[in-house]
Amino acid sequence: MKPSLLENRGVPLEKQKFTWRDLVQKPISKLDDDAYTRVRIILMNGIELEAHHFSHSAARMNKALQLPLAQIRRVEQHQATMINWLIGADHSPLETTIAYEQVAIDVTAAVAMNEPDDYLAQVYRFGLLEDFDHLYRYSALLDRLEGKDANNILQSYTDILPGRPTVDEHRAPQDDLRNPYDRKSAAPLSKLHALTIMAAEQQTHNYYMNIGPMYSDPVARQLYAEIASIEEQHVTQYESIIDPEESWLEKWVMHELGEVYNYHGCMQQESNPRIKAIWERFLDYELGHLQMACELFKKHEKRDLEEILPESLPEPIPFASQREFVRETLAGEVDLRANGAGIVPKSKESKASLAYRKQMNADGSPSETVSAGYKWAPGSELKLKVA
């Protein structure tokens, strides 16, 4: 018996076609579109880029899979392009950064709330409070460098407050590795959550690494350098919760399933009809990719799909303000730290992390400097200072 989610075979690969004109569509409106339309665009770009990176890694290790991987990867390349090009160029790189952090906060919070595994939920809450702090630091930079209000991007859905201070987030590598879920017993939703958040964080890391040096201001360059380093830690954390015992093909199927799952969630919740049509089109494309990956899984691994696929898609990740959950988490867990795979009270933090942090912060802390005395206020902090 095969899972019912495979009954919809989607669009076959040979019918998944693009033109350059098709790839480069009208961007969304920074002012008029809902912030969660932008959030979904950023998230899905991240999901596609993760699929792309994974596919290249798999191709380097699996000769027999190189052709189908290349065929699907070509489509994914163009899916990622169409999606990422929807962000208008009137977003400065720093404004887009604000939107990236909104993804990291509101999507991670939604995942943490719905995660069935207590340990993994704790890991998401741990990461959440760090990205929450990044938003505060970048908002200060946006106000103080470009003279802009981060809330024009956030649309009042997401708070701008200090979280776990970025200065304290720098950890030794061994304190960023967590325990993985067990591929045999973990809920499908846990697997999909882990892949989704890992993809989002990886994209954020790549983005900061690319745009950090585009700023001439040394404070901005330092802040991007510092937060990019934390995003690297987050990628390390989130990839470590995924069971490394999954085979290449199992991981491939899970990636395709993750894309189906997330496009489905985006399609269900999208408020912009033009963008909704893109999510719908790409959901059909991904169903086609999933079919192909499943066929290859059966052929090469001689295993039943029921071992890895759920019967149907779990409930989608909600795209919504998670203000209350974030505030509760902040109040209860801001002082938690990591020691090995464990999330521990501040007093139990590892000596290795304390030493590493001391070294990295020895010449000062960009995140502390940029937000010295900063309080968000509507329009600008200047509002609090000018009579």
Partner: protein, 219 residues
């Protein structure tokens, strides 16, 4: 040594010239680019709409331009923050720090003044209007010049000059708009702000000229 020109590498430069003969392009010219751009321009949506409450005619134009001025004055305050650092790093231009601070604070006051004006007309001063958004895009280059540790005081002053010239023209325009709307109170307040902006422009022009001449004289 500046290596960007062909004269620094005469032989390689001559080889580069051969490219002109070696390239056999397909037909067409830059008008082909214009065709694509025209197609997108015709299909494009505007940057965005005006914030609520919706207004029409002169009231809508005024609200959009007030939003633009608000964004510009707020960003202008930050440009002067950066110029103050620039001049502190190189005191040779002799620009008094207190003068810079004075202008900076007036820019911040103008930001507050515009915010109050928007509110008095029933608008939302926290919203970004379409022209405010575009002004933000325009200002990115100025910010990059002013915050770059590599740029000189003269280069930074040139960027500020671009800002102040635009700012002066924009305040003139705003006064015309509020005058047209018959809002005498705002005409009065904006005229005061415009006078202050004229002083900023004159000062910046003087500093820019003096700093350019000083650099020509090895200063």
């Amino acid at each position: 040594m500046n290596q960007s020109g062909m004269q620094t590498a005469p032989e390689a430069g001559r080889a580069m010239l051969e490219n002109i003969e070696l390239t056999k392009p397909n037909g067409g010219d830059e008008r082909d680019l214009a065709k694509i751009r025209l197609q997108y321009a015709k299909e494009s949506d505007p940057v965005g709409s005006l914030p609520e409450p919706k207004q029409a005619g002169m009231a809508a134009v005024l609200m959009d331009k007030l939003g633009e001025r608000l964004a510009f004055e707020r960003a202008g305050t930050r440009l002067y923050d950066a110029l103050m650092v620039k001049c502190a790093a190189d005191g040779s231009a002799g620009i008094p720090a207190k003068d810079l601070k004075h202008i900076r604070d007036e820019e911040a006051t103008h930001f507050a003044l515009i915010g109050a004006a928007i509110q008095s007309l029933g608008g939302d001063p926290t919203a970004q209007t379409p022209s405010a958004d575009v002004a933000g895009v325009e200002g990115m280059g100025l910010m990059q010049v002013l915050t770059d540790p590599k740029t000189t005081v003269v280069q930074a002053l040139h960027a500020i000059l671009v800002a102040e010239m635009t700012d002066n023209a924009a305040w003139e325009e705003l006064i015309e708009l509020v005058s047209e709307a018959g809002n005498d109170e705002l005409v009065e307040r904006f005229t005061e702000a415009r006078d202050e902006e004229q002083e900023h422009l004159e000062k910046v022009q003087d500093w820019y000229k003096a700093a350019t001449l000083a650099s020509a004289n090895g200063g």
